[in-house]
């Protein structure tokens, strides 16, 4: 191998390495962890969410209707093994979820209010707004609770859903 060829090879390897680091970094940035007291902890990528059943909800933002699309939080929690539907009884009713953003902001939801078998709250993990990706300050994911009177639980830059059981 010539010097030029070796240099090109090294440069290519370095390039590949940096590209991989960049991709991994981007994946880490867009990963959504589902953890806590569940049987199957998950780490979801953007493509995973795109492949799940999609839900669109509307919220009014200062006189304007805004449509968020994403996945019901319950749909995600079910895949992690959270007790939903018929399993939502007895001690399971005392289960709650902490949604945490990249900046540490957090909000709590009871599992019951997330479960479509119990309520019609339609609380979602959104990844698009009006058909476009969320802005950087919001995304890549955020909680949208369309029936909350105030938006304080709409955790932006969502990174983690922790399931906690008060009774077992």
């Amino acid at each position: 191998m010539t010097t030029i060829g070796r240099r090109a090879c090294v440069a290519a390897l370095v390039g590949v390495t940096f590209a991989n680091v960049g991709r991994l970094h981007a994946q880490a940035e867009s990963a959504l962890a589902v953890a806590g007291d569940v049987s199957k902890p998950l780490t979801l990528a953007a493509t995973d969410l795109k492949g799940m059943p999609r839900t669109t909800v509307s919220v009014m933002d200062q006189g304007r209707e805004v449509k968020y699309t994403g996945v019901l939080v319950a749909e995600i929690l079910a895949r992690a093994g959270a007790p939903l539907g018929r399993d939502m009884s007895g001690p399971a009713v005392a289960t709650y979820v902490i949604a945490t953003g990249k900046d540490g902001y957090a909000a709590v939801f009871s599992l019951g209010e997330l479960d479509p078998a119990m309520t019609d709250n339609d609380i979602i993990v959104a990844d698009t707004v009006d058909g476009q990706p969320l802005f950087e300050y919001q995304g890549p994911y955020r909680i949208v609770a369309p029936h909350d009177k105030r938006g304080a639980r709409g955790v932006r830059m969502l990174q983690k859903l922790d399931i906690m059981r008060l009774r077992k």
């Binding site: 200062q62 006189g63 304007r64 953003g101 990249k102 900046d103 540490g104 902001y105 476009q132 802005f135 950087e136 300050y137 919001q138 932006r156 830059m157």
Partner: protein
């Protein structure tokens, strides 16, 4: 045949004075052409928007004859080139009296839930316009009620005779203080700004309209521990908006905040000329509470805070990162951080040099340059009023 019927009908109608009024065409409605994401402004039922009223209001707004001594107009303290502020720490009236507070921007004022820095009761631009005209503490435009001298002055001008006739009617009754403030308010409601690089980024999805630093700054703005958005929220990035159809709650839905700018010893922790909404409510917990101004065009609207006591945006960031201002000497000395009325959102934070630069890039992206030269909002008088 149809023509004859209409002509006949018209003759019958002309038989009564009420019917004459019915035949007069209604003035053309004002066309808003609102930007993306901006709702229709609330307009008082007794002052519907018309293009003629807006044009009259623009002439009045910029006419120095609107002050008793002919030296100042509304535009003297609300300059288009400064996003309708004046660049002074505190406004100066036509007689030289210094106002206790900084001139607020009039940009997007149509959406303000309350007007001025610290009056929860003042919600109509028509009412607010009376304050600089007739107020005597401080004197601004310097008129004395009922304003007969002002109306005589306007009535003598040929341009105003034409504009008042177009906006109202051809009778001398058109020249009234009520119609003056209706017209000024109508013009002010048209000053809508949404053409900043930030707007292009958000409304048009032009990612490169603002820099990466500005996008990072936006993220900081909405993140812990900074959470600037808690007070500067919504499409105006300011305190409390109002618009057509919005349910109104107490105090116009506007929150007022004590940011720890002062902490004087004694009964009042703020300088006596500027105690915030306490001046209205007389509740001790309201001392030092002021409205959060819009951050749109903020790079142009310094000096900052209700009394213009911070010269630059860098200084404002210093104030909030410290969780309040400390003044070590003089009559205003005190540790603002410890003010008992201080907002829970003003807790202080550590701000790196990079984060500071990102914040400033974001705030600078909110400037609408087109607004500063938009002929719709410009001074219509092409020569000094005295020479006409």
């Amino acid at each position: 045949m149809l023509t004859r019927v209409l002509r006949c009908g018209a003759l019958i109608l002309i038989g009564t004075s009420g019917a004459i009024a019915a035949l007069e065409p209604a003035p053309p409605a004002y066309v808003w052409n609102l930007p993306h994401g901006f709702p229709k402004p609330r307009v008082p039922a007794d002052n519907p928007m018309t293009a003629a009223k807006v044009e009259l209001g623009r002439h009045l707004f910029y006419d120095t004859r609107l002050s008793a001594n002919g030296t100042q107009s509304c535009g003297s303290c609300h300059e288009q080139a400064r996003a309708f502020t004046d660049g002074k720490e505190r406004a100066v009236g036509s007689t030289g009296e210094v106002h206790p507070r900084n001139s607020m921007s009039l940009v997007n004022i149509a959406y303000a839930g309350t007007l001025t820095w610290a009056n929860p009761m003042l919600t109509r631009l028509e009412d607010q316009a009376l304050v600089p005209m007739f107020g005597d503490h401080p004197v601004e435009l310097g008129w004395i009620r009922p304003g007969t001298a002002l109306l005589d002055r306007l009535r003598r001008d040929q341009t105003y005779r034409r504009l008042f006739a177009a906006a109202f009617d051809r009778t001398s009754k058109a020249f009234s203080v009520d119609n003056v403030v209706r017209s000024i308010a109508s013009f002010e409601r048209t000053i809508i700004s949404a053409r900043s690089p930030y707007d292009r980024y958000h409304s048009n999805r032009e990612r490169d309209a603002i820099s990466a630093a500005a996008r990072r700054g936006e993220t900081l703005f909405f993140s812990q521990p900074f959470t600037c958005f808690r007070c500067h929220n919504g499409f105006l990035m300011g305190g409390g908006v109002d618009f057509d159809g919005r349910e109104r709650d107490a105090e116009g839905g506007v929150e007022f905040h004590n940011t720890g700018l002062y902490n004087l010893a004694g009964a009042l922790s703020y300088p006596p000329t500027n105690t915030g909404i306490y001046e209205i409510t007389r509740r001790a917990e309201d001392v030092g509470k002021f409205k959060a101004p819009t951050l749109r065009n903020i790079a142009l609207t310094g000096p900052y805070m209700h009394d213009g006591s911070i010269a630059s945006l860098d200084g404002v960031l210093d104030h909030y990162s410290a969780g309040g201002r400390t003044i070590v000497e003089g009559p205003n000395r005190g540790v603002g951080h410890d003010n008992v009325n201080k907002s829970r959102s003003v807790r202080g934070f550590t701000l790196s040099a990079d984060q500071r630069a990102d914040f400033l890039a974001f705030l600078n992206s909110l400037t609408d340059e087109e607004l500063l030269h938009d002929p719709r909002f410009a001074n219509p008088w092409t020569r000094p009023q005295e020479t006409r």
